[in-house]
């Protein structure tokens, strides 16, 4: 196929989306759904983004459960399927489970890649592959993207380029050791003494995958590792990667150190790693055959900082609004894993799941709705809810909604309570935006986890011109929040603000 026959040729579009991982595919799908002309371009030769390469070992950390209490075409099945992208057509939903043989509820990397390719194909998404974004500039109200195939002009641009650029510390010696992305096949580490810098999931993924091959594995970083089962969230090392901890406890050749690594030196038969223990500051040198720097990734934002896009932190994530728009350059939006730069409420320190597909797919849809509304005047239907149904709808959402369960304390289901137009379903909104917006009377419900691990609904009621007020509802052992107590509490809470909305 010649360049001219490829889809999305250079030219003028309402929106350009960069990246063909889950974030880019989901964004382009919903832009098209709203009738917004967009070009989806990708430097890769096929869809999948980071799932074309990672994870190296075993399977993904996100589940797709084949057996669930709701049909796969049902919206509520999304809670049981963290890996499929969202679609409005029932036949394009929940593509992941049909691509898995049933031997695990966690897909392998090739299965996930296949899932994303199937989504692009079945939904008929047009993607211009092998088209590399190279530069960005403004021309009046338009953005101009220089690419390997020519110039794209647009009114808004969405970057879904992942947090995928390997990062290594500046400390001496790190330039000489491979990053996580350069890990070799497992068998090549047979009998080796291995040092892994980093104690996040990528470090423990390598330790788990190489456990049977390496002679000894040392993992080190300044901070003690957290475990997801202790943080009551996806924050910390996942249960899948617990085995190295047990090996350490049993003296099985795994050592987990809290130490900084000021330098790494080449030695005659490998490397000498210089460590400074976090507790007490004593020095320790470790002689090893291999070092892998599992020290994370940054966002490949190219020249966006020259355009004024502000970034922060070691991952160089963009500073964003609650709708994932650059805080400093309006019209530039972000989707996919970059969305984790929007902290949201982060109650009890628990982050949202924006760095994973099960969270970012909802962020992308919410972002597209807002972009369409504010930039192009495209609004969606706001269904009317009868006053006597509101309490049931709220509790049903809290019990079943995949958006609220996947993005706890981050996304909420909102309803405006306007005396003139009645109760309107405003759909899914960023919770931090809802509680800070001093707009019309409204109510939003979300699901939250507290510091004890208790999962319960939280309701935010906003009266005219005043910030929202928080009320926590009670949990239920089987997480069905549609209890008599919660109904009574909600009825009482809403009595004042819904008065006059009956239509």
């Amino acid at each position: 196929m010649t360049a001219d026959q490829k889809p999305c040729p250079p030219g003028d579009y309402q929106v350009v989306v960069v990246g063909s991982g889950p974030g880019g595919l989901q964004t382009s799908y919903y832009l098209r759904h709203l009738g917004i002309r967009n070009a989806l371009i990708s430097a890769d030769p096929a869809p999948g983004g980071m799932f074309r390469r990672f994870p190296f070992f075993q399977r993904l950390l996100s589940w797709t459960k084949p057996y669930a209490p709701v049909p796969r075409s049902d919206r509520f099945y999304e809670w049981f399927d963290w890996n499929s992208l969202l679609a409005e057509e029932p036949q394009n939903r929940s593509l992941m489970p049909d691509l898995m043989p049933g031997d695990s509820s966690f897909p392998s990397r090739p299965e996930m890649e296949q899932n994303l390719a199937a989504f692009a194909e079945k939904t008929g998404l047009e993607v211009r592959y092998d088209c590399t974004w190279e530069s960005t500039r403004r021309d009046g109200e338009q953005f101009v993207l220089g690419t390997s195939d020519g110039e794209y002009r647009c009114q808004a641009v969405v970057f879904a380029v992942g947090v995928a650029q390997p990062f290594k510390p500046d400390s001496p010696g790190f330039a000489d050791v491979p990053h996580y992305v350069d890990t070799r096949p497992a068998e090549t580490y047979a009998g080796k003494r291995l040092f892994i810098v980093g104690k996040e999931n990528s470090g423990f993924e390598l330790a788990t995958g190489l456990l049977q091959w390496a002679q000894r594995i040392v993992l080190a970083s300044p901070r003690p590792p957290k475990l997801s089962v202790n943080t009551h969230s996806l924050l910390g090392v996942r249960a899948r990667y617990i085995q190295p901890f047990e090996d350490q406890i049993l003296g099985g050749g795994v050592f987990i150190l809290n130490a900084s690594i000021p330098r790494i030196e080449r030695s005659a038969d490998g490397y000498r790693v210089h460590c400074v223990r976090s507790e007490g500051g004593s020095e320790l040198t470790v002689d090893v055959d291999e070092v892998i720097s599992a020290t994370g990734f940054t966002s490949p934002l190219r020249d966006l900082t020259d355009l004024g896009v502000s970034v922060f932190g070691r991952s160089k994530l963009p500073s964003m609004t609650n709708f994932w728009e650059s805080a400093t350059v309006p019209g530039i939006y972000f989707a996919g894993t970059i969305g984790q730069g929007v902290a949201g409420m982060k109650k009890y320190g628990l982050p949202a799941n924006s760095g994973a597909v099960q969270g970012s797919r909802y962020n992308a849809r919410t972002m597209v709705y807002e972009l369409a509304r504010t930039k192009f005047g495209v609004t969606r239907e706001r269904p009317v809810v009868k006053p006597d149904q509101l309490v049931d709808v709220l509790l049903h959402e809290a019990t079943r909604s995949p958006e609220l369960w996947n993005q706890k304390s981050y996304l909420a289901r909102a309803f405006t309570l306007d005396a003139g137009e009645g109760i309107r379903d405003e759909g899914i909104v960023p919770l931090a935006h809802f509680v800070d917006e001093e707009g019309a009377p409204a109510v939003a419900i979300t699901v939250e986890t507290d510091d004890t691990g208790d999962i319960h609904p939280a309701v935010y009621v906003r009266e005219q011109g005043r910030p929202a007020v928080e009320t926590l509802l009670t949990s239920q052992p089987l997480h069905d929040f549609r209890t008599a107590d919660n109904r009574l509490q909600l009825v009482s809470l809403l009595r004042g603000v819904t008065a006059g909305t009956a239509r």
Binding site: D170, S260, V276, R277, F312, G313, M320, A343, D436, P467
Partner: protein
């Protein structure tokens, strides 16, 4: 504000709250606390909301706002959120960004262990809280 690991540790070393920590301890602090960024006009702490955290300002400025009235401004090196965590009560003030804000954030449930692990930080925090109490008393008298 995107800082390298070394630059972040250097920045922390220059903040009075962490002035008594060794470099390995500062590196551990840099890893324990999450870097976050907020746009202008956003509330970071909200009056009456549960589940709040502890924040140290790396860059930017916030207003301490009670019932819509600004009672103080905080800037680089200042911290907030510790009162409601220590008391186990929701904040009595909003913290609202006046300029784009870059912070280090620690979840509320982690603050006690953090302070026990770093007694010099606890002492510095106490000193600041004593100063705030004295200033409040002087304003009232």
């Amino acid at each position: 504000m995107a800082l390298s690991q070394d630059e972040l540790v250097d920045t922390l070393a220059g903040l009075s709250l962490f002035a008594d920590l060794s470099r390995p301890q500062l590196e551990q602090v840099a890893h324990k606390m999450a870097e976050e960024s907020y746009p202008v006009g956003q509330r970071i702490l909200r009056q009456g909301f549960t589940g709040t955290g502890f924040y140290v300002i790396l860059d930017g400025e916030v207003a301490v706002r009670i019932d819509g009235t600004d009672v103080a401004h905080l800037g680089k090196g200042d911290f907030f959120g510790e009162m409601s965590i220590l008391l186990g009560e929701p904040p009595v003030a909003d913290i609202v960004t006046l300029r784009q804000l870059d912070v280090l954030h620690l979840g509320g449930p982690e603050l006690e262990a953090f302070l026990r692990d770093h007694p010099p930080v606890m002492y510095r925090m106490l000193k600041t809280m004593a100063l705030r109490l004295r200033n409040t008393s002087q304003v009232r008298s």
